[in-house]
């Protein structure tokens, strides 16, 4: 290893953060891509690399196999153990990245949905020799369903097709035809989102961190440039202020008399912004007040924004508890007792429409019963099919009736307040994931 193998640091601590995911079928080059990103950004340290070199040599390889870095998954795949989403980290100095690495196999719709739920960008890998396949459609549909705003279609293994521009152009054109068919292209653009294309070789490193010389015909961004330029979650749109209360702080037992009447509503801003003096409404009860103070620890803020965990103090004494939602009075939504949603079933035990489940939406829970299963979606053909129940990896459109009112937005408008999970109270397992229509 060269002595310049140095992680970049950011002394101002001002790097932003991007969560993204990789999707591809087995052998499309996902592990190699991740390994290459970690390697070229100097995130792989010497001891790990030594291990990888040894293993590569043992397997008779001449170069270090970068896919060994994510070999944990490989081994499991061979043994047929449940494959799961793995999270990996690297930093460029200007940005910290969290990669959700989900195996692409057909049975793993639920893993992809899980990985996609926190991702703001998806890299969809296509093998240049194979072009757009059924699984490409599946991955694209799921990325779209789970509302990933930025999709990068990466045509990999360009080295195996002589870095031929015609092949790349054809794959891009094919992809766009299909993306138009399923409405992906239109709705991505309507939502202010995007689809980009890039040719690359994960093995050689073409167009990842370095451009190299093999594809002078491509003048778009490299992979790392795309990642660096992608907006962080929630910085793109003006969303209404949504503040689910997680915990209420009432330190009245404290010996400090000043704290006797302290009543702080603690939570994370799921969307939007808030400032001291703003008129707010506490849902579902509809009490009105004004923001008196905003705090993070000891720090007093004048305003706060999406994804900040804060403590809110209100002007009036209002009885509020976990599960309530504080919103701006001008943007208050009507609590609902019925929701229509796309649901991905996650559990090996099929959904039984006769049973009562618990729906957890933000910090609030409600018992729920299935009103109707409208249809399920074949993730390969995108056909709608009638169904009476839901098995693992199925995606269906379902209406639920709720025991408690929920304060929801449509998932398309707001990923945080449009999402919910379904819990089976007998096992306490998370058995489903829902996106409100």
């Amino acid at each position: 290893m060269s002595s310049s193998h140095t992680q970049t640091i950011d002394s101002q601590h001002s790097a932003s953060l991007l969560r993204f995911m990789t999707c591809g079928s087995v052998d499309d080059g996902k592990s190699t891509l991740i390994g290459r990103l970690l390697f070229d950004t100097k995130t792989i340290l010497a001891d790990t690399l030594t291990q990888m070199t040894r293993t590569s040599e043992k397997r008779g390889l001449t170069a270090v196999d970068l896919s060994l870095l994510t070999d944990g998954l490989q081994a499991e795949r061979e043994q047929g153990i449940t494959i799961d989403v793995a999270y990996r980290y690297f930093s460029t100095g200007t940005r910290k990245y969290i990669i959700a690495d989900a195996p692409g196999h057909e049975q793993y719709t639920r893993n992809m949905v899980t990985a996609a739920s926190t991702a703001n960008l998806a890299i969809i890998l296509i093998d240049a020799r194979k072009g757009v396949l059924t699984q490409t459609r599946r991955h694209s549909y799921l990325a779209h369903l789970v509302g990933i705003p930025h999709i990068v279609v990466a045509v990999n293994k360009m080295d195996l097709v002589n870095y031929d521009q015609a092949i790349y152009d054809k794959i891009c054109a094919d992809y766009l035809v299909f993306a138009n068919e399923i409405g992906l292209a239109q709705s991505q653009i309507a939502a202010g989102n995007d689809i980009s294309f890039i040719p690359m070789s994960a093995l050689n490193g073409d167009m990842l961190v370095d451009r190299l010389e093999n594809m002078p015909w491509y003048d778009g961004k490299t992979m790392i440039e795309m990642l660096e330029a992608a907006p962080s979650a929630h910085t793109e749109h003006n969303e209404p202020f949504r503040f689910p209360v997680q915990f209420v702080c009432r330190p009245h037992a404290s010996d400090n008399p000043e704290l006797h009447d302290f009543r702080g509503f603690m939570g994370r801003i799921e969307s939007g912004e808030i400032a001291v003096g703003d008129a707010v409404t506490v849902l579902p009860n509809g009490y009105q007040s004004k923001v008196k103070a905003i705090q993070i620890g000891d720090a007093q803020l004048q305003s706060a924004t999406t994804e900040q965990s804060i403590t809110l103090l209100l002007e009036d004494e209002i009885d509020t508890s976990r599960g309530d939602m504080i919103v701006k009075s001008s943007e208050a939504q009507e609590p609902v007792k019925q929701i229509d949603a796309f649901v991905c079933w996650l559990s090996e035990t099929p959904m039984s429409p006769a049973r009562t489940y618990v729906i957890r939406h933000t910090t609030r829970e409600s018992k729920a019963k299935v009103g109707a299963i409208h249809y399920k979606v074949d993730v390969n053909t995108l056909e709608e099919q009638a169904t009476a129940d839901l098995k693992m990896n199925d995606i269906a459109r379902i209406t639920f009736k709720l025991a408690q009112p929920l304060m929801v937005d449509s998932y398309n408008a707001n990923r945080a307040t449009g999402a919910f999970i379904i819990i089976d109270e007998s096992s306490n397992n998370t058995v489903g994931a829902g996106m409100i229509i």
Binding site: M1, S3, Q7, T8, I9, S11, H13, A15, S16, L17, L45, A46, D47, T48, T50, D71, G72, I81, T82, D84, V85, A86, Y87, R88, Y89, K96, T114, T118, G192, P231, T235, E236, N238, Q246, F247, C249, P251, S254, L259, M266, G267, R268, E273, G297, T305, E307, Q308, S309, R322, R360, H361, R415, A416, A419, F420, I421, I423, N428, T430, A433
Partner: protein, 314 residues
């Protein structure tokens, strides 16, 4: 609706984002669990979590006590620091000792100098049962090793404290499910998404105090099986851990610890980083993972020695 051009909202910095996520997770534990506990060792990761808990719950008290499972083989500096920090915070600290489990016969060492680290889990389970805890908050991170990359933020343990990879709950969005039946237990990891670098940058930003052994200091060590092994370490109870063995040559070296744990399995690294900003720099230029540094096999240690020589450490 304004478009993104008109209103480019400033994204949070990565440290602010990680901090906010960790606070959110701590509050979820407080909101969902009836009797949680925060595992606190005096080490850097758990010190970060204490700061996060302050930001999450002050001016109230923490909605959980702190607990340390003490192997009896911890560095005195760390134990003293642990007690001091708990006292400063005014929070309740529970200490349960592996040595008590040994006295009860629930922990049996194969030999007197066997590492007690892995036996901590027995004492932990005994404490969970004693207090009826339904959730233990810990400082583990996914970047620590490959096998941890798939660990959940809320990780489910059965009645025997076992982690069954097939029985883990999918985690979507930030909708964490920390429910458990009686006897079962959740392990919550608020800094799962942090790297070693993030931890050091946070310590630097928040000006957190740390036990002295994290910083470069002179120490008697020997080379044992390719590792730097601290010897003749005075313990809290007046005994001495890791006595030097016949034929070993004691070297006095400038070292620091990247992790602090049971003396028998925590090796220091050679370093002259005596403050946090130097450690941040050293972490950035480090060529060895945190775990690799504590258990060096011959070959890697050769490579890293070579590397350090090149960089002028000797």
């Amino acid at each position: 609706m304004t478009t993104k051009q008109e209103n480019p909202r400033q994204p949070l910095t990565h440290l602010d984002w990680l901090e906010s996520e960790a606070i959110y997770i701590l509050r979820e534990v407080a909101g969902q669990c009836s009797n949680p506990v925060l595992l606190f060792s005096g080490g850097k990761d758990s010190l970060c979590i204490l700061r996060l808990a302050e930001k999450a719950f002050r001016p109230g008290r923490f909605p959980f006590p702190l607990m340390h499972i003490d192997t009896g083989h911890n560095y005195k500096e760390v134990i003293d620091f642990r007690d001091q920090r708990a006292a400063e915070l005014g929070e309740r600290l529970i200490v349960r000792n592996v040595e008590d489990s040994m006295a009860r016969g629930t922990v049996v060492l194969k030999s007197a100098d066997e590492s007690r680290n892995k036996h901590q889990s027995v004492t932990l389970l005994e404490a969970i049962e004693e207090f009826g805890f339904d959730c233990c908050i810990g400082g583990a991170r996914r970047d620590e090793e490959k096998a941890r990359a798939k660990e959940r933020i809320m990780s489910f343990r059965d009645e025997f404290g076992q982690w069954d990879p097939k029985n883990q709950r999918p985690e979507l969005w930030s909708l964490y499910n920390a429910r458990s039946h009686k006897g079962e237990n959740i392990r919550a990891f608020p800094i799962s998404n942090w790297t070693e670098m993030d931890v050091w940058q946070y310590i630097e930003r928040e000006k957190l105090q740390l036990p002295s052994i994290y910083f470069a200091h002179q120490r008697d060590v020997v080379m044992r099986g390719g590792s730097i092994v601290p010897v003749n370490v005075p313990l809290v109870n007046g005994e001495v851990a890791n006595p030097v063995k016949a034929g070993e040559e004691i070297i006095n070296m400038q070292v620091r610890f990247r992790t602090v744990g049971d003396i028998s399995c925590t090796a220091p690294v050679i370093s002259d980083a005596d403050d946090v900003s130097k450690i941040v720099l050293e972490t950035a230029t480090s060529t060895i993972t945190e775990r690799g540094a504590t258990r060096l096999d011959d070959q890697t240690s050769d490579a890293s020695m070579e590397q350090r020589k090149k960089e002028g450490y000797f």
